[in-house]
């Protein structure tokens, strides 16, 4: 361990951790300006630990990025009422909880690193991480994320949610099918935000030389999932019901977020090229937890604006796209843009080809990776519009079946990726 690594926690936090003695389980909550919701998350975690792991010494650690809205105070003042209610007739072992300001590169990855380092210092055998803006978290989430690890059935527990059919479009249309086709494991929510991690795995994470890179700022979710898969760790998914959280900023830069997620996926393809080249097809990952249908609020979608952006992209970004996509794909995109809104359909074959060509173009550095991914936003919006229009009347199982069809196309066309990657990267 280098000096820089040793100082991540700082002497005060180390002293506090030392005073707690060893812990069995750690729940980490990375936060930034989450005063409104973090109290509920802490109470749910506390109740979950007390109810399902009554004999374990547990610690809840809030890794905060310098919030000024009273997040730390909300953590400190979150009462243990639920734990007492849940455990009326059982002895309650107190759960330690405290806030640690994380150091290093600002971002969720640095917060995770602090949680993992604290868990390692405490000698914990399992660690769960949950978002601080969750509204739908229950004590059962903690059980579902930690139990497979405590029972030594898994090293990495990914979340499995029910979401509205039009939510998670980047997960459904790109990240899940692409990750599955590349690495051969069907992790349905690879960028979910909640995870359970075993001690060997979080020690493995801490050893990776990524904590001063972009992974520390963003992309930690897909990095953790991919690293767990490629490292050969045992995987599992926990059914958590619905995921509801604080509304995101509607003015948030979608292109920037696309760059964060897709840019990280493409970068990981470079790191794990040997691994994904060998993989053919995919295998399921077990799901724990009782699955039930979830009622979800309707989502408002305006496909005409998405299609207008798609057309705008075809009209003005053609010269940039031409450096990425072949003439056939460009001709098809132009033909689609000339049709009416009802005629525009970026089908699975075209979409998968575009994503694979984009990945190969990023690999051969046709241009800056971020620029290429940003330039793909109109294509993504065209695909989302296609998805929404096609599945307007479909129910949740039909949507899931449709996503499965897309995944199969990603797997079938993987040879194309191998070929273009090799040709163009040479």
């Amino acid at each position: 361990m280098s000096m820089a690594e040793a100082d991540i926690l700082g002497p005060a936090v180390r002293a506090r951790l030392a005073s707690m003695g060893p812990a069995d389980l750690v729940v980490g909550i990375p936060s930034y300006q989450n005063a409104k919701t973090i109290g509920h998350v802490v109470r749910a975690a506390q109740a979950g630990l007390a109810k399902y792991f009554p004999d374990a010494h547990c610690v809840i650690l809030n890794s905060d990025g310098g919030s000024s809205d009273g997040t730390a105070e909300a953590v400190a003042s979150a009462g243990g009422l639920e734990a007492e209610v849940v455990l009326v007739s059982n002895p309650v072992r107190p759960v330690s909880r405290f806030t640690v300001p994380y150091h290093g590169v600002p971002g969720k990855g640095s917060a995770f690193r602090t949680v993992f380092r604290a868990a390692e210092t405490l000698g914990a055998k399992a660690c769960a991480v949950v978002d601080a803006d969750l509204r739908s978290i229950t004590p059962e989430w903690i059980h579902l994320l930690l139990a497979p690890i405590v029972e030594q059935r898994a090293d990495f527990v990914a979340p499995y949610y029910h979401r509205h059919k039009f939510d998670g479009t980047i997960t459904n249309n790109v990240v899940y099918p692409l990750t599955r086709a590349l690495y051969g494991r069907r992790v349905r929510q690879p960028i979910g935000g909640e995870f359970g991690v075993s001690r060997p795995l979080f020690e493995h994470y801490l050893r990776q030389p990524v904590w001063d890179t972009d992974v520390a700022r963003f992309g930690i979710d897909i990095w953790m999932t991919t690293t767990a898969i490629c490292g050969g760790y045992r995987l599992c998914q926990a059914f958590l019901g619905a995921k509801l959280h604080d509304p995101k900023d509607p003015g948030a830069d979608l292109a920037g977020m696309l760059v964060q997620v897709l840019g990280t996926v493409f970068r990981l393809m470079e790191t794990h090229e040997d691994a994904w080249r060998r993989v053919q097809g995919s295998a399921s990952v077990p799901v724990v937890g009782f699955q039930y249908a979830v009622g979800l609020d309707p989502v408002r979608v305006d496909t005409s604006r998405m299609l207008a952006l798609f057309r705008h992209g075809v009209r003005d970004l053609g010269p940039i796209w031409s450096t990425v996509f072949d003439a056939t794909a460009m001709a098809r995109l132009r033909a689609l843009a000339e049709g009416s809104d009802r005629d525009i359909a970026i089908d699975d074959q075209l979409w998968v080809g575009l994503i694979y060509d984009l990945a190969a173009a990023c690999h051969r550095r046709v241009s800056e990776r971020a620029d290429l991914v940003r330039a793909a936003l109109p294509l993504y919006m065209g695909r989302v519009a296609t998805f929404v229009i096609e599945l307007a009347e479909a129910d949740a199982p039909a949507v899931e079946a449709r996503i499965e069809e897309l995944c199969v196309v990603f797997e079938e066309q993987k040879d194309r990726l191998r070929r273009t990657w090799a040709e163009e990267g040479a």
Binding site: T169, R300, R305, L309, E368
Partner: protein, 233 residues
């Protein structure tokens, strides 16, 4: 009368012929140098291309990202750039020898001035090339950003960005070379005008919806559609 004219013409011709015959060997030698230089440039270019293709230059250029930069500047490959450099050096040497053959003192003076000027020329060239590359990157990013924000004048904004940077870098490069000292302030004024125009267009087009909503509110029209409720992940 006619006799006098004839004498003048004879003298003029003799002087011309004498002087021409005196410099003719120099001219012929100079032309010979030029011809040999051009042939050498062609041969050296082919040899350089042959050797570079067998070496790892292109792969190394790819690895360090030089190829991408050259492509952005309109040069096909690192090999092509190096071959052209070899040819230009051959041509320059041949031209210098041509001048020496014609008039050694003049050529020596020109060569000295050229070498004195060379550092400034190189720096000016670097400023210009960096400006061109920066204009391409900035133009592309402006275009992508403007399209993603749905601005109808995306291409105009990108062109203005590109043009502004090219004008500015050219002006700075020329100023460094001592050409047109008054150009820099003028270029900056042009650039400022361009930026102002681009900003006005961007703000005007970008806030079109806001203005429209404001007018609708004032006139009692129903409010415009709210943003989508989709969560992309």
């Amino acid at each position: 009368m006619w006799q006098v004219v004839r004498q003048v013409l004879d003298q003029a011709w003799q002087q011309f012929a004498g002087q021409s015959l005196a410099v003719l060997p120099n001219v012929l030698a100079g032309l010979l140098f030029l011809a040999i230089g051009l042939v050498l440039a062609v041969v050296a270019g082919r040899v350089a291309r042959f050797l570079l293709r067998r070496s790892a230059v292109e792969r190394q250029a790819n690895r360090i990202g030089l190829t991408t930069w050259l492509e952005r500047a309109g040069v096909l490959s690192a090999t092509a750039a190096l071959v052209r450099l070899v040819q230009v050096v051959c041509a320059l040497v041949a031209s210098a020898l041509f001048l020496y053959a014609l008039d050694a003192p003049l050529a020596a003076d020109l060569t000295k001035r050229f070498f004195n000027y060379l550092p400034d020329l190189a720096i000016g060239l670097v400023i210009f090339v960096v400006g061109i590359l920066a204009s391409r990157v900035a133009g592309r990013r402006t275009l992508i950003g403007a399209v993603n924000r749905g601005l109808p004048a995306a291409r105009l904004l990108a062109a203005l960005t590109r043009g502004g940077i090219v004008v500015l870098s050219s002006a700075v490069a020329l100023d460094h070379l001592g050409i047109g000292r008054a150009i820099v302030p003028s270029a900056l004024l042009i650039l400022l005008g361009g930026v102002t125009l681009a900003s006005a267009l961007a703000v005007g087009l970008g806030s079109r919806d806001a203005v429209s909503r404001w007018i609708d509110d004032r006139l009692g029209h129903p409010p415009a559609q709210e943003p989508d409720g989709i969560e992309h992940w």
